[in-house]
Amino acid sequence: MNTTPTLPIPISYISGNYYIFSVDAATYLRREHHICGVLIGTLPLIPQQNVFLGMPLELMPEEARLLVEKGVACIVDEKKAHNDGIKSLLEEDRKRYIQDLESQGLHARRLQLQRQEQSREEALRKKEEKKAAKMKKSAEKQQQSPAAGDVAEENSIVDFFAHNQQKEQGSGSGSSSSRPSSIMVDEPYGITPTTSYPPLSEAFSDKLLPAPDVRSSYPLFAHLHSKGYFMSPGLRFGCQYMAYPGDPLRFHSHFLVSSVEWDEEIDLMDIVAGGRLGTGVKKGFLLGGAERKAEVSEAEGNESIRMFSIEWAGM
C-alpha cells in the first residue's frame, strides 16, 4: 500500500482533462504530494450511490502542472498512446496478458469461494453458539449452580475454535490448501482491468505533452499547496478552491480561496458575499494573488503572494 510507483507518473490527457487511473499512483500522490484530485468514477463495490466514488481521479490543470513542475509526473496523450499501442501490440504480449488476467481471475474466484465458505462456517458457528446459549439458559433455569461451570467450559471451546479460524483467515493462502472442501476451481472470473499498462508498454517518449496551461490563479494555488494545504475545486462553496489543513479525508477545510489579480478592482459585494458565505460554513474567505513588485530580486522569482482572510463580523 505504501508503495512508490515508478516516477514520473503518467497523467492521462483525454480530450481536455487530466486523469490518474492507477490506484497506487492516486494513493501515492495523496500521501506524498498532497494532491487529492476528484474521484469521478463509479465504485464497483457499491455502484448505486454518490457518496463514495471510484477511479478515475480527475486532476485540475493546476494539480497536473504542479506535479509536472515537481518532476513527479508527465502528461501523456492517452488517445495517441492507445491508438498506437493497441495496433502495435505483439501477439505473444497479448496472449501473455490474457493468461495473466485469467490467472488473476482464477485467484479471485478462489478467494471468493473461500470467503463464502468462511461466512458459512461463521454462520454455523453462530448458530451453535446460540444453541449453546439457549442450553445454558435452560440449564440455568433447571439447576442453578452445578451446570454453569460446564457450559462455561463449552463456551471457551467455541471461543478457541473461533480463534483458530481467525488465525486461518490471517494466514490467507495457506488455509485454502488445508480446506479440501467443495471449492470447485472451474471458471475464472472475468476481469476488467483499471489501467491499460500492461498490456501497453510504458514508453511514452513520443506521446508526451507539455505542462498544462493554467488559470491566473495558479501562483496562489501553488503557494498554498507549498504551505501544506490540500486544495480541491471549490465552486460548490462559491469559490475557486477549498484549502484543507490536512487530508480532506480527516479534516474540514479552513478556507474558501478566491484568486484576484494584483491590480484588479474587487467588487465590495464580492467581499461581503464571500465573507458571509465563508463564515456561514465556519471557514475563512481568503482572497489572494501574486504581488508584482519591480524591485523583487530575480532569485526569488518575479512574484510573491499576498493573501487576506476575511471573516464576517457583522453585528
Partner: protein
C-alpha cells in the same frame, strides 16, 4: 412535490440525511466503507442494491492536524480503507458475464456470411432488451459505438438499442457507465488488435481505455458523462435530448406554448382597455372615478408591466452550453425505451471552466423557452403560493460541473404578476416574508 423531487436530485441517495449539508459535499471517510464492503463480500456478489441497506453516516473529522500518533493512525487507516475500496477489481461472474464489443466506426451489421454467435445467444433466455420486433429495421443511433452480444439484466431496460440481430447497441456514455460499474466486459474488436477473425477479441478493454475511447466521442464531454453517471447512480433514467447536438433545436416547447395563452392574452387586452380608459399620467394614480372595492384600486395601481411566461413568444435560438442535453426520468416513472414518456426533468450541462459566468437573461430565457410549458398543478400547488412561485411555469435544471464536482441548480420561470395577492386577502403560504427559496430563480 417539487420539494421532494428537488431534494432527491440535490441530496445524495440517502433518505436519512437530516443535516442540511449533503453527504457528498465533502470527502467522506472511506473507513466507513469497511463494514459495508466486508458485508458485501461475505454475502457474495449479490446484485441486490446495497445502497438502501445502510449508507454510512457522516464521519467525524478533526479541526486541524496535530503531531499525535493517534491522528496519524486514523489517517493512515482512512487512506488504507480508501485504497482498498478503490483497488477492488471489477469482476465478472462467469455465468453472468455480459460481453460487449467496441465498434470504433459506429453501428455496423454483423459479419455478413455467418453469424453463429448472435443466433446461439438468441436461443438462450429471452432478454428484456429485445423489445422491438426483429427485422423491422430499427435505426440504430449513429453515435452508438459498442454492441452487447448477450444482453441480460435490468440495465438494458433503460439502456441501449436492439438491432435486428439481437445485439444491443450502446451509446458511448452508456457503455462507459456499465463498464465503470463493473457490469459490462467490453472487448477490443479483432480488427483493432490485429487478431485473426471477426468480432470480439479476447482482450478486455480497461477502464482507462474506455475513457480514452468514449470521452470526447460525438459530443460526450466528461462533464456530460459525470452528470449522466451521477444521476444513473441515483437511479434516474437518463437519455439524450435533441439539444445534445449543436445543430438541432428542441421545438416541443414553442409548439405547446401556443395553445391557450391566446385566450389569456385576449382577456388581458380586454382588462387593459377597460381599466386604462382614463390616463394616470395626470391626476391620481388610481385614476378618477368611483371605486367600489379595494381590489379595483389595486388593479389600477398595477402600473408596472410584468412578465407573463404563458404568453407565446417567437422561438429563440438557444446557445450552447445553455441547452437541454438530457431528459431525466424519476426511478418511479415507467420508462419504455421505444416510447419514452415526457421527461420529469430537463438538464443542461455546463462546464464551469469554459463558462465561468452565470447565463445572461436572454440565454436563460431561450433555454427556458425551449422547455414545454409546465404550469403548477395539483391541490398543493393551488393552495400554497410559494410552492407555485418556486415551481414556475417552465423549469430546467442546470448541472454545473467544476472539475468533476457537480452542482445542480433548478431554474423556474416564476410569474409574480399572476399572483394577485390582494384577491386572496393576504398571504397563505407556508412562511411569511418575501424571499424566494435560493434555488428558485424568479425573473
Amino acid at each position: 412535490m417539487a420539494d421532494a423531487d428537488e431534494a432527491a436530485i440535490h441530496s445524495s441517495s440517502t433518505p436519512s440525511t437530516q443535516e442540511d449539508t449533503d453527504l457528498d459535499d465533502e470527502t467522506q471517510d472511506f473507513r466507513i466503507l469497511n463494514n459495508l464492503t466486508f458485508a458485501r463480500i461475505l454475502t457474495g456478489t449479490s446484485l441486490s442494491d446495497p445502497s438502501n441497506a445502510s449508507l454510512p453516516r457522516r464521519g467525524e473529522k478533526d479541526f486541524e492536524p496535530n503531531p499525535t500518533l493517534h491522528q496519524a493512525d486514523i489517517l493512515s487507516a482512512s487512506r488504507n480503507a480508501m485504497h482498498n475500496a478503490l483497488a477492488h477489481p471489477r469482476l465478472h461472474f462467469p455465468k453472468a458475464r455480459i460481453i460487449a464489443v467496441y465498434s470504433p466506426d459506429g453501428p455496423t451489421p454483423p459479419p455478413a456470411p455467418k453469424n453463429p454467435e448472435p443466433s446461439s445467444q438468441e436461443t438462450g433466455s429471452e432478454t428484456p432488451a429485445r423489445g422491438p420486433k426483429k427485422g423491422t429495421g430499427i435505426v440504430i443511433h449513429p453515435d452508438a459505438c459498442a454492441y452487447v452480444i448477450n444482453p441480460k439484466g435490468q440495465h438494458f431496460k433503460s439502456l441501449g438499442q436492439a438491432d435486428s440481430w439481437g445485439r444491443v447497441w450502446l451509446l458511448p456514455e452508456e457503455a462507459l457507465y456499465l463498464l465503470e460499474r463493473g457490469t459490462l466486459d467490453i472487448r477490443w474488436p479483432c480488427s483493432m488488435t490485429g487478431e485473426d477473425g471477426e468480432g470480439p477479441s479476447e482482450l478486455p478493454m480497461s477502464l482507462q481505455a474506455a475513457y480514452t475511447c468514449f470521452i470526447g466521442r460525438d459530443g460526450l464531454t466528461v462533464e456530460r458523462f459525470s452528470v449522466f453517471s451521477g444521476l444513473r447512480r441515483l437511479g434516474y433514467v437518463v437519455s439524450r435530448a435533441p439539444g445534445w447536438y449543436d445543430s438541432e433545436e428542441e421545438v416541443t416547447g414553442a409548439v405547446q406554448a401556443r395553445q391557450w395563452p391566446s385566450i389569456n392574452g385576449l382577456f388581458g387586452k380586454f382588462w387593459d382597455w377597460f381599466y386604462s380608459s382614463n390616463s394616470t399620467a395626470t391626476g391620481p394614480v388610481a385614476g378618477l372615478g368611483i371605486h367600489r372595492s379595494y381590489n379595483d384600486i389595486f388593479r389600477k395601481l398595477a402600473i408596472i408591466p410584468w412578465y407573463d411566461p404563458v404568453t407565446p413568444k417567437p422561438p429563440q435560438r438557444t446557445t450552447p452550453p445553455f441547452r437541454v442535453v438530457y431528459h431525466i426520468y424519476k426511478p418511479s416513472t415507467t420508462f419504455k425505451k421505444t416510447a419514452p414518456p415526457p421527461p420529469d426533468f430537463r438538464v443542461a450541462v455546463i462546464n464551469a471552466q469554459t463558462q465561468p459566468t452565470i447565463p445572461t437573461l436572454s440565454q436563460l430565457g431561450a433555454l427556458l423557452e425551449s422547455t414545454p410549458l409546465d404550469p403548477p398543478r395539483g391541490e398543493k400547488m393551488s393552495r400554497l403560493l410559494y410552492m407555485r412561485l418556486r415551481h414556475g411555469y417552465r423549469n430546467v435544471v442546470l448541472a454545473i460541473v467544476d472539475h468533476g464536482v457537480v452542482s445542480y441548480l433548478r431554474m423556474g420561470d416564476a410569474a409574480f404578476g399572476k399572483e394577485r395577492i390582494y384577491d386572496k386577502g393576504g398571504l397563505n403560504g407556508p412562511k411569511k416574508g418575501g424571499h424566494l427559496h435560493p434555488k428558485g430563480n424568479g425573473r
